[in-house]
Symmetry: C2
Amino acid sequence: MNERMKSIEEMTQALRDAGIRVTRQRAALLSVLAEAGDHPDAPELHRRAEAAVPGISLSTVYRTLSTLESQGVIQRHQFEGASARFESAETDHHDHMIDVDTGEVIEFASDRIERLQAEIAAELGYEIVHHRMELYVRKTSDS
Amino acid sequence: MNERMKSIEEMTQALRDAGIRVTRQRAALLSVLAEAGDHPDAPELHRRAEAAVPGISLSTVYRTLSTLESQGVIQRHQFEGASARFESAETDHHDHMIDVDTGEVIEFASDRIERLQAEIAAELGYEIVHHRMELYVRKTSDS
DNA sequence: AACTCACTTGCAAGTCATTTGCAACAAGAC
DNA sequence: GTCTTGTTGCAAATGACTTGCAAGTGAGTT
Ligand SMILES: [Mn+2]
Ligand SMILES: [Mn+2]
Ligand SMILES: [Zn+2]
Ligand SMILES: [Zn+2]
Protein backbone atom coordinates (compact mmCIF):
# COMPACT_ATOMS: atom_id res chain seq x y z
CA MET A 1 0.00 0.00 0.00
CA ASN A 2 2.50 2.52 -1.13
CA GLU A 3 0.62 4.72 -3.52
CA ARG A 4 -2.30 6.47 -2.04
CA MET A 5 -5.22 4.14 -1.78
CA LYS A 6 -8.28 5.08 -3.77
CA SER A 7 -11.32 5.77 -1.67
CA ILE A 8 -14.53 3.92 -2.38
CA GLU A 9 -15.97 7.19 -3.72
CA GLU A 10 -13.13 7.63 -6.15
CA MET A 11 -13.44 4.04 -7.30
CA THR A 12 -17.17 4.23 -7.89
CA GLN A 13 -16.74 7.49 -9.75
CA ALA A 14 -14.09 5.94 -11.91
CA LEU A 15 -16.49 3.12 -12.69
CA ARG A 16 -19.28 5.54 -13.56
CA ASP A 17 -16.87 7.44 -15.81
CA ALA A 18 -16.23 4.16 -17.59
CA GLY A 19 -19.97 3.88 -18.19
CA ILE A 20 -20.39 1.23 -15.53
CA ARG A 21 -23.33 1.63 -13.16
CA VAL A 22 -22.63 1.29 -9.51
CA THR A 23 -25.51 -0.89 -8.47
CA ARG A 24 -26.21 -2.02 -4.91
CA GLN A 25 -24.74 -5.39 -5.81
CA ARG A 26 -21.53 -3.90 -7.16
CA ALA A 27 -21.17 -1.48 -4.29
CA ALA A 28 -21.60 -4.35 -1.85
CA LEU A 29 -18.94 -6.44 -3.56
CA LEU A 30 -16.57 -3.49 -3.77
CA SER A 31 -16.89 -2.97 -0.06
CA VAL A 32 -16.59 -6.67 0.77
CA LEU A 33 -13.45 -6.86 -1.32
CA ALA A 34 -12.02 -3.69 0.19
CA GLU A 35 -12.45 -5.09 3.67
CA ALA A 36 -11.30 -8.64 2.93
CA GLY A 37 -7.91 -9.47 4.32
CA ASP A 38 -7.88 -12.86 2.66
CA HIS A 39 -8.35 -14.33 -0.82
CA PRO A 40 -12.01 -15.38 -1.01
CA ASP A 41 -13.61 -17.23 -3.89
CA ALA A 42 -16.89 -16.37 -5.60
CA PRO A 43 -19.25 -18.36 -3.33
CA GLU A 44 -17.57 -16.86 -0.25
CA LEU A 45 -17.88 -13.33 -1.66
CA HIS A 46 -21.50 -14.12 -2.42
CA ARG A 47 -22.04 -15.14 1.20
CA ARG A 48 -20.43 -11.95 2.48
CA ALA A 49 -22.30 -9.73 0.06
CA GLU A 50 -25.65 -11.20 1.04
CA ALA A 51 -25.42 -9.32 4.33
CA ALA A 52 -25.70 -6.02 2.45
CA VAL A 53 -27.82 -7.18 -0.47
CA PRO A 54 -30.06 -10.11 0.45
CA GLY A 55 -31.04 -12.02 -2.64
CA ILE A 56 -27.98 -11.10 -4.68
CA SER A 57 -27.38 -13.95 -7.06
CA LEU A 58 -24.23 -15.93 -7.55
CA SER A 59 -24.24 -15.17 -11.27
CA THR A 60 -24.23 -11.48 -10.50
CA VAL A 61 -21.25 -12.06 -8.25
CA TYR A 62 -19.43 -13.81 -11.06
CA ARG A 63 -20.39 -11.12 -13.56
CA THR A 64 -19.35 -8.34 -11.23
CA LEU A 65 -16.02 -9.98 -10.48
CA SER A 66 -15.29 -10.16 -14.21
CA THR A 67 -16.29 -6.54 -14.64
CA LEU A 68 -14.18 -5.34 -11.73
CA GLU A 69 -11.26 -7.38 -12.96
CA SER A 70 -11.42 -5.90 -16.43
CA GLN A 71 -11.53 -2.44 -14.82
CA GLY A 72 -8.35 -3.28 -12.95
CA VAL A 73 -10.07 -2.86 -9.61
CA ILE A 74 -9.49 -6.41 -8.43
CA GLN A 75 -7.22 -9.30 -9.22
CA ARG A 76 -8.13 -12.89 -9.95
CA HIS A 77 -5.88 -15.74 -8.85
CA GLN A 78 -6.16 -19.29 -10.07
CA PHE A 79 -4.19 -21.38 -7.62
CA GLU A 80 -3.63 -25.07 -8.32
CA GLY A 81 -6.63 -27.30 -7.97
CA ALA A 82 -8.86 -24.57 -6.58
CA SER A 83 -11.53 -22.29 -7.92
CA ALA A 84 -10.66 -18.66 -8.64
CA ARG A 85 -9.87 -16.40 -5.67
CA PHE A 86 -9.99 -12.64 -5.65
CA GLU A 87 -8.44 -9.66 -3.92
CA SER A 88 -8.53 -5.91 -4.24
CA ALA A 89 -5.96 -4.44 -6.59
CA GLU A 90 -5.39 -1.60 -4.11
CA THR A 91 -2.17 -3.13 -2.86
CA ASP A 92 1.38 -3.09 -4.08
CA HIS A 93 2.32 -6.01 -6.28
CA HIS A 94 3.10 -9.20 -4.46
CA ASP A 95 3.16 -12.92 -5.11
CA HIS A 96 1.86 -15.86 -3.11
CA MET A 97 2.95 -18.92 -1.19
CA ILE A 98 0.37 -21.63 -0.62
CA ASP A 99 0.83 -23.97 2.33
CA VAL A 100 0.06 -27.33 0.71
CA ASP A 101 -0.95 -28.80 4.08
CA THR A 102 -3.29 -26.10 5.33
CA GLY A 103 -4.20 -24.24 2.16
CA GLU A 104 -3.13 -21.00 3.83
CA VAL A 105 -2.14 -18.24 1.41
CA ILE A 106 0.88 -16.14 2.37
CA GLU A 107 1.87 -12.99 0.53
CA PHE A 108 5.41 -11.93 -0.21
CA ALA A 109 7.29 -9.59 -2.47
CA SER A 110 10.83 -9.59 -3.83
CA ASP A 111 12.19 -6.73 -5.86
CA ARG A 112 15.19 -8.84 -6.77
CA ILE A 113 13.05 -11.54 -8.33
CA GLU A 114 10.90 -9.00 -10.13
CA ARG A 115 14.02 -7.41 -11.56
CA LEU A 116 15.46 -10.75 -12.65
CA GLN A 117 12.24 -11.67 -14.38
CA ALA A 118 12.27 -8.45 -16.37
CA GLU A 119 15.93 -9.00 -17.24
CA ILE A 120 15.33 -12.51 -18.51
CA ALA A 121 12.39 -11.43 -20.62
CA ALA A 122 14.38 -8.51 -22.03
CA GLU A 123 17.29 -10.77 -22.97
CA LEU A 124 14.92 -12.78 -25.12
CA GLY A 125 13.40 -9.69 -26.68
CA TYR A 126 10.24 -9.54 -24.64
CA GLU A 127 8.67 -7.28 -22.09
CA ILE A 128 6.50 -8.65 -19.31
CA VAL A 129 2.80 -7.87 -19.52
CA HIS A 130 2.09 -9.61 -16.24
CA HIS A 131 3.28 -12.68 -14.45
CA ARG A 132 2.38 -15.27 -11.94
CA MET A 133 4.61 -16.80 -9.32
CA GLU A 134 3.27 -19.21 -6.76
CA LEU A 135 5.32 -21.18 -4.27
CA TYR A 136 3.63 -24.31 -2.98
CA VAL A 137 5.27 -24.81 0.37
CA ARG A 138 5.36 -26.81 3.58
CA LYS A 139 6.38 -25.67 7.06
CA THR A 140 10.00 -26.59 7.64
CA SER A 141 10.25 -29.55 9.98
CA ASP A 142 12.91 -27.95 12.20
CA SER A 143 13.90 -31.28 13.73
CA MET B 1 18.69 -32.59 -20.10
CA ASN B 2 21.51 -32.86 -17.68
CA GLU B 3 20.95 -36.13 -15.90
CA ARG B 4 20.95 -39.15 -18.15
CA MET B 5 17.62 -39.41 -19.94
CA LYS B 6 15.62 -42.54 -19.23
CA SER B 7 15.01 -44.72 -22.25
CA ILE B 8 11.47 -45.72 -23.12
CA GLU B 9 12.33 -49.26 -21.99
CA GLU B 10 13.44 -48.04 -18.59
CA MET B 11 10.33 -45.93 -18.22
CA THR B 12 7.94 -48.71 -19.12
CA GLN B 13 9.75 -51.07 -16.77
CA ALA B 14 9.49 -48.52 -13.98
CA LEU B 15 5.77 -48.30 -14.65
CA ARG B 16 5.40 -52.08 -14.56
CA ASP B 17 7.32 -52.16 -11.30
CA ALA B 18 4.79 -49.71 -9.94
CA GLY B 19 2.06 -52.17 -10.88
CA ILE B 20 0.99 -50.13 -13.87
CA ARG B 21 0.33 -52.00 -17.08
CA VAL B 22 1.94 -50.66 -20.21
CA THR B 23 -0.95 -50.90 -22.62
CA ARG B 24 -0.81 -49.94 -26.27
CA GLN B 25 -2.55 -46.72 -25.38
CA ARG B 26 -0.07 -45.82 -22.67
CA ALA B 27 2.92 -46.78 -24.78
CA ALA B 28 1.64 -44.61 -27.60
CA LEU B 29 1.19 -41.62 -25.32
CA LEU B 30 4.60 -42.12 -23.74
CA SER B 31 6.18 -42.06 -27.16
CA VAL B 32 4.15 -39.10 -28.36
CA LEU B 33 5.15 -37.18 -25.26
CA ALA B 34 8.79 -38.19 -25.56
CA GLU B 35 8.90 -36.88 -29.10
CA ALA B 36 6.89 -33.72 -28.53
CA GLY B 37 8.95 -30.56 -28.58
CA ASP B 38 6.01 -28.42 -27.60
CA HIS B 39 3.37 -28.32 -24.85
CA PRO B 40 0.31 -30.10 -26.28
CA ASP B 41 -3.05 -30.36 -24.56
CA ALA B 42 -5.15 -33.50 -24.20
CA PRO B 43 -7.09 -33.29 -27.48
CA GLU B 44 -3.83 -32.68 -29.37
CA LEU B 45 -2.16 -35.65 -27.68
CA HIS B 46 -5.24 -37.68 -28.53
CA ARG B 47 -4.88 -36.72 -32.18
CA ARG B 48 -1.20 -37.64 -32.23
CA ALA B 49 -1.76 -40.93 -30.42
CA GLU B 50 -4.47 -41.99 -32.85
CA ALA B 51 -1.76 -42.59 -35.46
CA ALA B 52 -0.40 -45.46 -33.36
CA VAL B 53 -3.64 -46.59 -31.75
CA PRO B 54 -6.67 -45.89 -33.90
CA GLY B 55 -9.78 -45.74 -31.78
CA ILE B 56 -8.03 -44.63 -28.60
CA SER B 57 -10.55 -42.62 -26.64
CA LEU B 58 -10.13 -39.14 -25.25
CA SER B 59 -11.05 -40.36 -21.77
CA THR B 60 -8.21 -42.84 -21.90
CA VAL B 61 -5.90 -40.01 -22.85
CA TYR B 62 -7.07 -38.01 -19.84
CA ARG B 63 -6.79 -41.02 -17.54
CA THR B 64 -3.34 -41.88 -18.82
CA LEU B 65 -2.11 -38.33 -18.46
CA SER B 66 -3.21 -38.34 -14.83
CA THR B 67 -1.51 -41.67 -14.26
CA LEU B 68 1.74 -40.57 -15.88
CA GLU B 69 1.67 -37.35 -13.95
CA SER B 70 1.25 -39.11 -10.63
CA GLN B 71 4.18 -41.36 -11.60
CA GLY B 72 6.28 -38.26 -12.17
CA VAL B 73 6.79 -39.16 -15.81
CA ILE B 74 5.16 -36.05 -17.19
CA GLN B 75 4.27 -32.57 -16.02
CA ARG B 76 0.97 -30.78 -16.28
CA HIS B 77 0.85 -27.01 -16.83
CA GLN B 78 -2.21 -24.89 -16.39
CA PHE B 79 -1.51 -21.64 -18.19
CA GLU B 80 -3.94 -18.75 -17.89
CA GLY B 81 -7.19 -19.14 -19.76
CA ALA B 82 -6.17 -22.37 -21.43
CA SER B 83 -6.78 -26.04 -20.89
CA ALA B 84 -4.04 -28.16 -19.35
CA ARG B 85 -0.87 -28.71 -21.37
CA PHE B 86 1.66 -31.47 -20.87
CA GLU B 87 5.31 -32.22 -21.38
CA SER B 88 7.70 -35.02 -20.55
CA ALA B 89 9.40 -34.72 -17.16
CA GLU B 90 12.65 -35.87 -18.74
CA THR B 91 14.06 -32.38 -18.83
CA ASP B 92 15.78 -30.18 -16.32
CA HIS B 93 13.52 -27.84 -14.42
CA HIS B 94 12.52 -24.74 -16.27
CA ASP B 95 9.76 -22.16 -16.27
CA HIS B 96 7.73 -20.65 -19.07
CA MET B 97 7.05 -17.41 -20.87
CA ILE B 98 3.83 -17.15 -22.84
CA ASP B 99 3.64 -14.68 -25.68
CA VAL B 100 0.24 -13.10 -25.09
CA ASP B 101 -0.09 -12.18 -28.77
CA THR B 102 0.80 -15.48 -30.37
CA GLY B 103 0.29 -17.97 -27.55
CA GLU B 104 3.81 -19.24 -28.13
CA VAL B 105 5.39 -20.93 -25.10
CA ILE B 106 9.06 -20.18 -24.46
CA GLU B 107 11.12 -22.05 -21.90
CA PHE B 108 13.72 -20.50 -19.66
CA ALA B 109 15.60 -21.25 -16.48
CA SER B 110 17.26 -19.07 -13.89
CA ASP B 111 19.26 -20.50 -11.04
CA ARG B 112 19.31 -17.12 -9.40
CA ILE B 113 15.54 -16.91 -9.26
CA GLU B 114 15.25 -20.49 -8.06
CA ARG B 115 17.69 -19.71 -5.28
CA LEU B 116 15.88 -16.54 -4.29
CA GLN B 117 12.59 -18.38 -4.12
CA ALA B 118 14.05 -20.97 -1.75
CA GLU B 119 15.58 -18.20 0.34
CA ILE B 120 12.32 -16.32 0.68
CA ALA B 121 10.43 -19.45 1.64
CA ALA B 122 13.10 -20.38 4.17
CA GLU B 123 12.99 -16.94 5.77
CA LEU B 124 9.30 -17.48 6.47
CA GLY B 125 9.87 -20.98 7.83
CA TYR B 126 8.82 -22.92 4.76
CA GLU B 127 10.40 -25.19 2.21
CA ILE B 128 9.22 -25.25 -1.38
CA VAL B 129 7.38 -28.38 -2.49
CA HIS B 130 7.01 -27.10 -6.03
CA HIS B 131 6.35 -23.83 -7.71
CA ARG B 132 4.99 -22.20 -10.75
CA MET B 133 6.35 -19.14 -12.50
CA GLU B 134 4.90 -17.90 -15.73
CA LEU B 135 5.76 -14.69 -17.53
CA TYR B 136 3.09 -13.40 -19.88
CA VAL B 137 5.06 -11.37 -22.37
CA ARG B 138 4.98 -9.37 -25.56
CA LYS B 139 7.74 -8.88 -28.13
CA THR B 140 9.56 -5.67 -27.41
CA SER B 141 8.60 -3.00 -29.92
CA ASP B 142 12.20 -1.97 -30.67
CA SER B 143 11.17 1.35 -32.09
C1' DA C 1 0.88 -71.82 -25.15
C1' DA C 2 -3.01 -71.66 -22.24
C1' DC C 3 -4.96 -69.77 -17.90
C1' DT C 4 -6.26 -66.21 -14.83
C1' DC C 5 -7.67 -61.99 -13.05
C1' DA C 6 -6.85 -57.49 -11.58
C1' DC C 7 -6.11 -53.67 -14.14
C1' DT C 8 -7.78 -50.94 -18.41
C1' DT C 9 -10.54 -49.30 -21.99
C1' DG C 10 -14.46 -47.15 -24.73
C1' DC C 11 -18.67 -45.14 -24.30
C1' DA C 12 -22.19 -42.69 -22.20
C1' DA C 13 -23.41 -40.08 -18.52
C1' DG C 14 -22.03 -37.11 -14.76
C1' DT C 15 -19.40 -33.05 -12.45
C1' DC C 16 -18.47 -28.56 -11.31
C1' DA C 17 -17.08 -23.92 -11.78
C1' DT C 18 -18.33 -20.45 -14.52
C1' DT C 19 -21.09 -18.30 -18.39
C1' DT C 20 -25.11 -16.83 -20.85
C1' DG C 21 -30.14 -15.84 -22.84
C1' DC C 22 -33.88 -13.35 -21.55
C1' DA C 23 -37.58 -10.63 -19.47
C1' DA C 24 -38.16 -7.77 -15.50
C1' DC C 25 -35.68 -4.10 -13.17
C1' DA C 26 -33.20 0.12 -11.82
C1' DA C 27 -28.99 3.48 -12.20
C1' DG C 28 -28.32 8.08 -13.40
C1' DA C 29 -28.41 11.59 -17.24
C1' DC C 30 -31.67 15.03 -18.59
C1' DG D 1 -40.28 12.32 -12.83
C1' DT D 2 -39.08 10.35 -17.34
C1' DC D 3 -36.31 7.83 -20.34
C1' DT D 4 -32.68 4.94 -21.95
C1' DT D 5 -29.71 1.49 -21.48
C1' DG D 6 -26.96 -1.13 -18.55
C1' DT D 7 -28.06 -4.86 -14.88
C1' DT D 8 -30.10 -8.49 -12.37
C1' DG D 9 -32.13 -13.15 -11.08
C1' DC D 10 -33.27 -17.36 -12.79
C1' DA D 11 -32.78 -21.25 -15.49
C1' DA D 12 -30.39 -23.39 -18.89
C1' DA D 13 -25.95 -23.94 -21.29
C1' DT D 14 -20.78 -24.57 -21.43
C1' DG D 15 -16.48 -26.79 -21.49
C1' DA D 16 -12.96 -29.36 -19.67
C1' DC D 17 -12.51 -33.08 -17.47
C1' DT D 18 -14.09 -37.34 -14.59
C1' DT D 19 -16.45 -41.59 -13.71
C1' DG D 20 -19.62 -46.06 -13.71
C1' DC D 21 -19.76 -50.07 -15.97
C1' DA D 22 -19.40 -54.09 -18.95
C1' DA D 23 -16.21 -55.88 -22.23
C1' DG D 24 -11.28 -56.38 -23.13
C1' DT D 25 -6.29 -57.34 -22.23
C1' DG D 26 -1.52 -57.09 -19.99
C1' DA D 27 1.62 -60.06 -17.80
C1' DG D 28 2.60 -63.20 -14.11
C1' DT D 29 1.63 -68.26 -13.42
C1' DT D 30 1.32 -73.05 -14.73
MN1 LIG E 1 -2.66 -11.39 -2.34
MN1 LIG F 1 8.32 -26.76 -20.78
ZN1 LIG G 1 5.66 -10.80 -8.74
ZN1 LIG H 1 11.31 -22.56 -11.63
